[in-house]
Symmetry: C2
Subunit: 410 residues, 2 copies
Amino acid sequence: MSNYLVMKFGGTSVGSSERIGEVAKRVVRQVKKHGDKVVVVVSAMSGETNRLIELARKVAGDGYKAREYHQLVTAGEQVSVALTAMAIEREGLPAQSLLAHQIPIKTNTVFGQNLISEIPVDKLKSLLDRGIVPVVAGFQGVNDSLEYTTLGRGGSDTTAVAVAAALDSCRCVILTDVDGVYTALPSICKKARKLKALTYEEMLELASSGAKVLQTRSVSLASKFKVPTLVCSSFSDAAGTEIVEEYEGMEDAVVSGITCRTDEAKITLRNLPDQPGVAARIFKVLGDAEVVVDMIVQSEGSSGRAAISFTCAQEFSKVAYDAMLKLIQQEMSESSIELDTNIAKLSVVGEGMRTHAGVAYKVFEVLGEEGINVDMITTSEIKISVAIEEKYSELAVRVLHERFIERPES
Amino acid sequence: MSNYLVMKFGGTSVGSSERIGEVAKRVVRQVKKHGDKVVVVVSAMSGETNRLIELARKVAGDGYKAREYHQLVTAGEQVSVALTAMAIEREGLPAQSLLAHQIPIKTNTVFGQNLISEIPVDKLKSLLDRGIVPVVAGFQGVNDSLEYTTLGRGGSDTTAVAVAAALDSCRCVILTDVDGVYTALPSICKKARKLKALTYEEMLELASSGAKVLQTRSVSLASKFKVPTLVCSSFSDAAGTEIVEEYEGMEDAVVSGITCRTDEAKITLRNLPDQPGVAARIFKVLGDAEVVVDMIVQSEGSSGRAAISFTCAQEFSKVAYDAMLKLIQQEMSESSIELDTNIAKLSVVGEGMRTHAGVAYKVFEVLGEEGINVDMITTSEIKISVAIEEKYSELAVRVLHERFIERPES
């Protein structure tokens, strides 16, 4: 292992001049105590990105172009990197802030998402070799014309992991306002406990199922490049959660965590024509409308005609509903459509599920005992997700947590 | 004349989302009504640059590096250009914001000042030819490593004039919170009136003598490249002040304007050795300390030993004083030093002074009648400046304004 280390600080961690001072002290301690060659990645000061988006909304409603949105919001990270570099210098180490175009962090646009395509490390290595701490703006990228792009909400995590992946055998520490990854959200489930370690795949399933600790894309990247990643608090020295390829006893517990997200909506199409290709037609139309579909259930109706339900993010639900309504009116005039935003998606995740059977059965059993109806279900090798009525979501998390985490032997 | 036009809006003019909306309307009106190919240049929203500098001060005291200061404060213009481009689009014209590194506006550093060395216009022209309004970030520059530099307080004026100079025969309009250049500061002198026109040289003398309407450097640039420049209000349609090579009747009035600045300090060295080269030694030391000296007076003392007084900006006065004190202690032990920050520098400016004699005499006479002692004096072909006690500054402006502007025939 080299002694390269990327330390990423989130918006709350750099939320004020005092906190930026604390960040600087922590970075300097790391460098001086461990001799690490540290690259710092920071987000915008908390609240700043929202302030800028609100200004844009006041000026232009919702009608602004992506290009100008990116020019605008990247100013947030520009401020925080410069201040963080100043603070590190004040603590006695030379530092230099770097914006996306100064490295450059190049991105490609794929299906409306900006993905990092390249991070040359010459400049970073040259600074590190001279004992200078590079302070890299998270969230920012540039395209080939050096126009700013952005990596989505939480994109600084992805910047941090991508920088670590670009440097040889570099570790990555995500310092945030929570002290690690929990078995469930502690605000819902008092008995939730912090996990010592998770595999990349577990973290990926948890992040994409609603755990907000890390941006999902940053976890895929860490997994792809095998970047050892640690999530811990920037406000304490408590041990955090390690995210690694494998850890000791990783299959001992069947379930590592339980998540819940309530930001999806369900659309149901009933009385569909009983013809081959109807489902394909529906999802082709949704794809053309750029709606990302999550869960899908197809069922036989009583009259022999089919019904299809699917979920998508609530923010896309209006687009999806309108597209489906148009489709029905034009091509399937006997069918009906229904939109339900009161759903919750619960996910039970764990490496142990690869080797333990019967988890799905237990999920149904536990929820059934509480009178909670399971509406839809999807599974992966290490995850089971179910859609239920939103009002039961906290209760469902607690009973599943009790069953799988608190007394797994039962 | 081409139909290129640079419209520059200052910080107050883009100080809120509503005002940015007004700016957009004005730009669109100009394009639609006159068919002009308009390049917009904007400053940071008013208060923003100060907010960022205050953050830097909180984080790092005064100890931060110029490089990080530039990274920090240029974020202000990044926000305002993006918002202005959004607002122009909302008013129905395509627009694109451009940061310094995206054009690029290249600067060289000369004696601690960043001077624009090059503005390639390919990108600007290509946008204009396609009917897209470029919205350029004022104040920002980049060096060869694409690191941000800044053009000093009021530097957006210089950006605007430099962009106009780079485009073929392009006019420049500076839209600001005053509606033109006045014969004196209206807050001091109620009878001050707006000037219809000024020569570049008059404006240059006024700007460098304390008129805050335009950054001095922008006027030199306009003069050098003969950029026709108009100063007017962004809040009204009142006619502004034209700044041109020559205007009709420009020598009719002896004096065009009277300015006053109170941000200078005077240092006096007494009982200096009566040797050749003493003055040279003094100003060599000041030059090495990067102190820019303004007025200089050398006089014979009573004992035959010389005295030298000079003024410089108050912000440099401590550096200048310390350098002089050290010089005296080391090389001129019998000499003494004195610092006076209670001085005002009054300037009387006018193209007419080229052909009218006796202005200096009248200045002394008018001030003498009020019992105001003239301490130092410097002149140029079209300017007379005097240093007086600061407490008399407003009175002096009023009596000089009355004598030269209100009843010039007397």
